[in-house]
Amino acid sequence: MTPSSYVVETDGLTKKFGSRTVVCDVDLKVPRGSAFGYLGPNGAGKTTLIRMLLGLTPATAGSMRLIGLPVPERRGEALARVGAIVEEPRFHGYLTGRENLEIVAAARDREAARRIADAIERVGLAKRADDRVRTYSLGMRQRLGIARILMADPELLILDEPMNGLDPAGIEETRVLIRALVAEGRTVVLSSHLLDEVEKTVDALAIVDQGRIVAQGSIGELTRSGPPTVVVGSADNQRAGALLAPLRSVARIAVEDGVLRVGLGGRISAVNEAIADINRRLVEAGIPVYRLEPEHASLEQRFLEITSRLEEAA
């Protein structure tokens, strides 16, 4: 068998509950050795997609491969090399943290049980490992959940909303841990609705809305893919605005924080020409220009742009 360069590949993956389509025709490719974000608003179908990948619920249509292996056909073999937290990690509250790990290690191979101590140490729970889980805070449970998947020494980690319930320090720790795991050659798929966290943590992402992937690529690609804005600082913003507004390359214009924000329409490849044209017209009109720079949308702006466009279309 030729090993795949992608750890997750889906083709036309669809899940319906009755007549309601929750995941619709999803083609997803997650490159090996990256931190990959699966970003979407609540109810977009993120968890359902993860549940299908992990064999927790069957797909209605389409095909999936995990670590190059077709699932559900070779699910057991694939999941032996995957660690996952779906929604919030669950435990037996009356057992200690260590005992909870022993329970899951028993379902894995012999090596998993030998990694328990290291996994506990790595997530910083060594002092509380022998306390009952019902006494743990939400953040400690999240960390124990991560220890549980580290115990499997996974090639692929699938984390569904791992920052939920964490305080800022916990979020930062998780982010550092995720980057460390990627540095070890593992792949981390991070599902979240928290744009800021995804942007800070992942290398590439897919934006999902209403069950469909609406954009996919590296963060740079996604933020550059939308129509750019040119920030214009001039001695007379009112006059400059009136001069630029009729131009065909200008889609919208606004004065904000003492500068003009000129939204460009048309082809993205023609941005440089449009900026040069703006500069020429302002200079010819005798308006002194002291700032002229393209500004790309943040991930948040792109996300809202894409999802609101879909809402309007619906």
């Binding site: 068998m1 090993p3 073999e77 032996a80 090399r81 009356y94 899951v104 028993a106």
Partner: protein, 276 residues
């Protein structure tokens, strides 16, 4: 598509062996560390035997003319009957916890994502639960046997064969109810509902059905009737919970086997198919 260049994959390692015994140990651990369950199961197996024979010994000591010795064959029958009834209730509690415990806590999902066969996850609960329950039953049986011999007094003490038969019979009955509860709990996914259904069946429905003569041979299908048929004949009059239902030993065995197979089959099927 992403501009990231994927890292070329190494050949996948050979799948590691996943032995069954650790799963059984894990199921035993879940039950053993549940203090409430351990206390309840102990109280419903060892507890009744201790209480019953203590009372019988005290009564006999206080008034030997009115109360016979605490031991002997008749009291073996009473003790065995008591253990069978109350021990079966303990078996239902343990079976329901073993069958629905992971589902109730959400840990079933965490086990499924390990890629372990769901059939194995179900199957390990049977030896795991029995390893928890049967030692308690063993102690209760040993106490019963000891008491009936030590406190036999002027009465004939039960033979070793009869003690062994009574012990095996009660252990089988308790194990049967454990498996029944395990299967039902795995099927419906609720510990509380399983306990409710099976206690109603054991304590109310079974005695009523056994006493309805018009059901005739249909009563052969009731597990308790089958168990009475399979028990030591000497103890029949003490362990019977209704009128005599005559059936062959083969039919009785077939009844028990059918109930067991249906419970295990349904529980396994649902465990394999349910959304986790």
């Amino acid at each position: 598509m992403t501009a990231l260049t994927p890292i070329a994959a190494a050949a996948p390692p050979a799948p590691a062996r996943r032995p069954f015994l650790p799963l059984v140990r894990a199921d035993l651990l879940k039950l053993r560390r549940n203090r409430g369950l351990l206390a309840a199961a102990g109280a419903m197996t060892i507890g009744p035997v201790l209480v019953a024979y203590t009372i019988l010994v005290i009564l006999h000591a206080a008034n030997p003319a009115h109360h016979g010795p605490a031991g002997g064959i008749a009291n073996l029958g009473h003790g065995t009957s008591l253990l069978a009834v109350i021990g079966s209730v303990a078996a239902v509690l343990v079976g329901a916890s073993a069958g629905a415990g992971d589902l109730g806590s959400g840990v079933f999902r965490e086990l499924v994502v390990t890629g372990r066969s769901r059939v194995a996850l179900f199957a390990s609960r049977i030896p795991g639960g029995l390893a928890f329950l049967l030692p308690l039953v063993g102690v209760a049986v040993a106490l019963t046997a000891g008491a009936t011999v030590v406190f036999a007094g002027s009465l004939p003490a039960p033979s070793t064969t009869l003690l062994a038969e009574a012990g095996i019979w009660v252990a089988l009955q308790i194990a049967f109810y454990f498996v029944l509860a395990l299967g039902l709990a795995s099927l419906i996914g609720s510990r509380a509902q399983t306990i409710g259904i099976l206690l109603a069946w054991q304590l109310a429905v079974t005695p009523i059905l056994l006493s309805i003569g018009v059901l005739g041979a249909g009563r052969d299908a009731i597990p308790d009737a089958a168990f009475v048929r399979l028990g030591p004949h000497v103890l029949d009059e003490y362990v019977r919970r209704g009128p005599v239902v005559s059936m062959s030993a083969a039919v009785a065995l077939a009844v028990i086997a059918t109930w067991t197979s249906v419970a295990v089959g349904l529980g396994m099927w649902r465990t394999a198919k349910r959304d986790a």
